[in-house]
């Protein structure tokens, strides 16, 4: 087990996997936080904007912005799962295979 751990750590694909996956997860987390805290700061400081009518009707900018935040959460998880369950898991499989 100790040997295999050393082999995994030294495998260039392991370094590649960790670097790629960490960067990807971090990027998406930052995107989500920026969208969410952007929304909250608009609520706290720009109430006027969110209450502005979009095209003269009752619908205000607040509604699409709020719905966008909800939908973006779903889309971001979808993007991550797509790449992690495909590319990253394949790389992971190769690493475990090569270090047996």
């Amino acid at each position: 087990m100790q040997d295999r751990n050393t082999r995994i750590l030294q495998n260039p694909k392991f370094k590649e996997l960790v670097a790629k996956r960490d960067a990807f997860a971090l990027t998406l987390s930052v995107v989500m936080l920026v969208i969410y805290f952007g929304f909250i700061l608009l609520v706290a400081f720009a109430k006027g904007f969110l209450g502005t009518s979009i095209s003269g009707g009752t619908m205000t900018w607040g509604i699409p912005v709020g719905v966008f935040t909800i939908v973006s959460a779903f889309i971001l998880t979808g993007i991550y799962v797509q790449r992690a369950n495909g590319e990253f898991d394949e790389l992971n499989r190769q690493i475990l295979e090569e270090t047996k």
Partner: protein
């Protein structure tokens, strides 16, 4: 049902502090008058109970090993688990509470829905797969992976039990009140029914039954809410613009329901609340346990994807239902009578109606709307779904509490791992019965208390004690047992002290005039303190044991990244 003359007090008061938390708790406090018996609702509820007890019987036959009991054998698929997670999250109170919030304040309801949801992507990106790769039955397995078992497991079990207990009290009180209101059952009888059925699910069927109960309930809740939203939109030719226009004409607040109101007033509160919601979700033991019910990291990721979709969809539905309540409940019938508003209040205001005149309080907005769109049969269905929801959430919480006692305290701390599986399961079942009985008594003891702060407490403790230990143990190799214990304890103590001295407890519960700490939500401070504590007490730890623990991080790191050596699904 239209003869409801009760008032669910406290909603307005709770909105100023832990509004979403209050919403989750269905802040039904104060006196609730018992209603005439609703036979349609009882019939549908009985059908649900019979179906779920059938599933429990089936699950009991499948459940043999500890892995079956705690983690449903690891054989739940990502899609099923996504539904179950969504089910744990969509409590009856979040359905009734958020719809009620939209009904009274419009857009502000959406702000809270968003806050509840955005924690999920972060859980997926940073925690879900590592959790699945490292853990076995409880999150303490992960937190204590390379540390001394006794102190970490004890602390994690205390954090779990505290979170579960506060959450459970809120659910039980909400359950008693709602059932009294919807079914016309006695408060105490309602608590006993919830307690007894929940004990049956958990002791006989373990995680497998608990998961399936949650899945069925999630499907029922999503279908019922979808039907309501479609019926509402159909009346406006599926034009949201027409729905919103009508709502602004009828609502006393007029066009301002389409813009942020006064619920979030200063940025510190806003950010603090956001952090407590985000990190609290990632520290709730009954939610974290769900990640051990799937086969591998791949399925764990998929479950968060599906859960985020279902929860997001559900929140959009509750937003439509809240607006539907405005346009359906604030209009008179052919005789000029408002069937869903309190006649005395309408008369006193000379016929100028206001959303606060609703019979039963704003938490009843979704229930009245069900009656308005689908008649008494559909009303019965939604009432039964609300009851089923409480039952399912309570069962999940109890299983998490029982696992903390049997797996963390009994098997690891007291017996030091020298225990066979059957004994461990037996302890878990006994604990379930004890928690069930305790929950009934706590429900009685807190009957007339404002329980919203209990949910606040549960979330802040989860975010300040459980979450920092969990996330630091996964990511930071230099962490030691001393850092984990002292940092976690610092988070726990500071969260509780600040919450007690803040407006939620010091003013609202204890009746003092001014709060010693002005912030509703101490999350920003207690979470930061906990992380700083873990960092400081770890880097200053130069004991040989600390060096050994740092050395073990390499193996943990490889397992968390690759899943090498992770728990698989049991074969049967």
């Amino acid at each position: 049902m239209s003869r409801l003359t009760t008032r669910i007090a406290g909603t307005a008061a709770a909105l100023t502090s832990f509004a979403p938390l209050a919403a989750l708790a269905a802040s039904v406090d104060g006196a609730v008058q018992k209603q005439s018996t609703n036979y349609e609702a009882i019939g549908m509820f009985l059908a649900f109970v019979l179906l779920t007890l059938g599933i429990t019987y089936w699950a009991a036959k499948q459940t043999k090993s500890a892995k079956d009991f705690y983690a449903a054998g690891g054989g739940i698929t990502g899609f099923q688990n996504g539904l179950a997670i969504a089910g744990d999250y969509m409590s009856a109170a979040s359905f009734l509470g958020i719809a009620g919030l939209v009904y009274t304040s419009g857009f502000d309801g959406l702000i809270y829905s968003v806050g509840w949801l955005v924690g999920w992507p972060i859980i997926l990106f940073l925690i879900a797969e590592r959790l699945r790769n490292l853990g076995k039955y409880t999150f303490a397995d992960v937190a204590s992976y390379r540390f001394q078992q006794t102190p970490i497991r004890t602390l994690a079990a205390c954090g779990s039990l505290a979170t579960v207990t506060f959450y459970l009290i809120a659910q039980m009180v909400g359950a008693g009140k709602l059932i009294q209101l919807l079914f016309g059952l006695d408060y105490f009888v309602a608590l006993i029914i919830v307690g007894v059925i929940m004990i049956a699910y958990v002791t006989f069927g373990g995680m497998l039954a608990t998961t399936w109960v949650q899945i069925i309930k999630a499907v029922m809740l999503l279908s019922g809410a979808s039907f309501m939203a479609i019926m509402i939109l159909a009346q406006f030719g599926f034009s949201p613009e027409a729905l919103f226009t009508k709502a602004t004409q009828l609502h006393a607040k007029g066009g301002s329901i389409m813009a942020p109101g006064s619920l979030i007033h200063d940025p510190i509160s806003a950010i603090s609340l956001g952090m407590a919601l985000m990190f609290g979700t990632a520290g709730l033991p009954h939610i974290l346990m769900r990640f051990f019910t799937v086969a591998d990291a791949k399925e764990a990721r998929k479950s968060v994807f599906y859960a985020t979709g279902f929860i997001g969809y559900f929140y959009i539905l509750t937003f439509i239902i809240g607006f539907g309540a405005i346009v359906l409940l604030l209009v008179p019938d052919a005789n000029g009578v408002y069937p869903f508003l309190d006649a005395a209040k309408v008369a006193a205001a000379n016929g100028v109606v206001n959303p606060s005149m609703i019979i039963g309080g704003s938490n009843m907005a979704a229930i009245h709307t069900a009656n308005a769109v689908g008649g008494s049969l559909f009303l019965g269905f939604i009432a039964a779904v609300a009851f089923a929801t409480i039952l399912a959430v309570v069962a999940g919480l109890t299983l998490a509490g029982a696992s903390a006692v049997s797996h963390d305290l009994y098997a690891s701390v007291i017996a030091k791992g020298r225990v066979n599986e059957q004994d461990e399961i037996r302890v878990s079942k006994i604990t379930t019965v004890v928690i069930g009985i305790l929950a009934i008594f706590l429900g009685v003891a807190f009957e007339n208390q404002n329980v919203a702060f209990m949910v606040g407490l549960a979330f802040v403790i989860a975010a300040s004690a459980n979450f920092p230990i969990l996330v630091m143990s996964m990511f930071w190799g230099k962490m030691t047992t001393r850092g984990a214990v002292l940092g976690g304890a610092l988070g726990l103590v500071s969260a509780v002290v600040m919450l007690v001295l803040g407006p939620t407890v010091w003013v609202a519960v204890l009746g003092n005039k001014a709060a010693i700490i002005p912030y509703d939500n101490p999350g920003l401070f207690s979470i930061t303190l906990s992380f700083l504590g873990i960092w400081f007490f770890s880097i200053t730890d130069n004991s040989p044991q600390a060096a050994e623990e740092r050395e073990k991080f390499k193996a943990q790191y490889i397992r968390s990244q690759t899943g090498l050596g992770a728990e698989g699904a049991s074969a049967h």
